[in-house]
Subunit: 419 residues, 2 copies
Amino acid sequence: MIKVGIIGVGTVGTSVVQILKENASVISARAGVDIVVKSGVVKNLSKKRDLDIVLTDNVDDVLNDPEIDIVVELMGGVDEAFVVVKKALANKKAVVTANKALLAYHRYELQDMAKDIPFEYEASVAGGIPIINALRDGLSANHIESIMGIMNGTCNYMMTKMTNEGVAYDVILKEAQELGYAEADPTFDVGGFDAAHKLLILASIAYGIDAKPEDILIEGIQNISQFDIMFAKEFGYAIKLLGIAKKDGNEVELRVHACLVPQTQMIAKIDGVMNGISVVGDKVGETLYYGAGAGGNATASAVVANIIDIARSGKSRPMLGFDKPLEGKLTLKSTDNIKSKYYLRINVSDKAGVLARITKIFEDNNISIATMLQRPCSENSANLLIATHTSIEKDIQAMIQQIAALDFVNFTPVMIRIV
Amino acid sequence: MIKVGIIGVGTVGTSVVQILKENASVISARAGVDIVVKSGVVKNLSKKRDLDIVLTDNVDDVLNDPEIDIVVELMGGVDEAFVVVKKALANKKAVVTANKALLAYHRYELQDMAKDIPFEYEASVAGGIPIINALRDGLSANHIESIMGIMNGTCNYMMTKMTNEGVAYDVILKEAQELGYAEADPTFDVGGFDAAHKLLILASIAYGIDAKPEDILIEGIQNISQFDIMFAKEFGYAIKLLGIAKKDGNEVELRVHACLVPQTQMIAKIDGVMNGISVVGDKVGETLYYGAGAGGNATASAVVANIIDIARSGKSRPMLGFDKPLEGKLTLKSTDNIKSKYYLRINVSDKAGVLARITKIFEDNNISIATMLQRPCSENSANLLIATHTSIEKDIQAMIQQIAALDFVNFTPVMIRIV
């Protein structure tokens, strides 16, 4: 029998307890042993919970319990969780975590500590989708050319609703908050930080690259309006917040931002609160993984799969997929050097000569325009919606500054990269 | 160093040799050891091959080679391959196979023999998509409610072309043959048998159920015409050949046939030669896996991933996902008892009273009509295109026989089940 201790018995932790109980028979048949949750750590012992496990408010009751084989860390946060997980590993307990923030900052230190101890984290990226499994084991024969993922259900829900129902960003954010998809302070989701944590974990498995959130380009969906969606529809795109990892020679681009994605691509077809991750390998071509990226049961499904895997084998594959360092190590590409096509929305006062001035600036910056629409915005202003040919990030950024400084431009142009 | 012997060095075998050579550096970093192909078995030694391995036409040169750790079986077929694989296991060599036919017939015998020896077969289902990995390991916490898969790229290519370009079945079959997607005798693909082999493998992992191709319902796409596609488009469906496994109480339905799938479902959005498999778990909800289901490199990607996994762990997880039998074993549902909505195309001579006679037969069989279209077919005949409410397979089959026997009905009605 394998005994599990859970640190943090909230929504996901409760689902873990329930799944191990409700599906005990099939889980036991698959694992070859019975798996039971012995104890759980909670902050507030007086809160009523209908769970058939021992509860404590002292993490050491779990970490030092010689009967516990696997510690499941579901407390969230970075520093405190890091201390707890290190102690579990020091006590030779296998660890399963769903904590993406912990891994975004400390995955390589944890890998060093977990050399001979199973450490699994399937639930940390895209909830119930077994993407760690697929990328680390299923696609291991491939050089990974790119990863493009819808890894934040909140943003995808909002973008889908804005597209299908024509509602404004603020309206749909409020709805997402009421539905519990977005927090009171939604920045972590809509600002792209949640997706960035997940992207960094996948990038380590794909490329062996160590980067932290502050090292990479992270933008959100806060500036997207119905004008952008109208443009996207007119030219056959969907707007998605994507986490992108892309290999270019010996460099890897890592970035999170809104994208215009051709509607014909599979990733553009993923709507609502669902997640989906497209991975291109040099041999397998494109594969895509779709499912629920959040929710108690979906996330717990991944946690329990990790527990079963540890119970089955008792042995860990290399935590981040590399058993020894990659020859000719890949480095992080500077954001300045990203190449992309770009879409710009430039809000201008509706005066004679404006279009000539703007297009001249494009020409001066050597940025070539692919398509343009002009749409009235208010009585005295218009939106110029412009898509460029492939350009370089630093040139676009410089040009945006020049355009923003013009007296007839009403605010800093909104930019969306085109996939 | 891990040494591999390949039995059958055709398209996939050649790709395996090439991947292990071209991607040797990243594979070695992931596996922790170097992996090399030592030797390969071919039928015709005089055929020129540009491969850097020892070739032989005697399987025993590989099977009895004490230096070989892993035998990769890519010879295809059932009986001879079964002999070869059994001998490899008897010689304590790990086995990797892409042979779906072998597994469709002998997977349980092989599991019994492979208790302490790694035996992997990721490439046998959906080529490069790591679906075995996902189902066996990633979703192991779940009772699997259903599997619906586009598991034959040839059929999906043909259905997509018929839908998008309005071409007839015979025309597109010829094109598929010229492109190498379909064999000279296309029955194995278009008749659903290839998909059935794959479905049986997945059903064992999901449900622990032992069934052979002759035990289950297998139909193909040969009777589908532009009339059916017109109906599908009009009512918001795509037509797909699906392999379906579905749990209903203690019974499991296993069936392969063309389906009308609502266009809003992810599986309906998978077009062209690509494969995609939707799996619904009781906890995780729907997940979907998409990618190339065939081709040398995509299939070899899965074969090499299995080799890496064996090199990493040296230990097999339970081959078919169950370490011990499932309590309350599931049994195969009789085809007669399948419940579905049905679409029928009934070709009738265009005479007075025909519609009344047909609809009376529906009423007599207690089958309720949901929608109906009548379309002229030739000068003297018309197609009645009818969708039913949920009905029982044996009632539909009985009614089809009654309708086929009518003097004004020109041939046995074509039936497509509706998902």
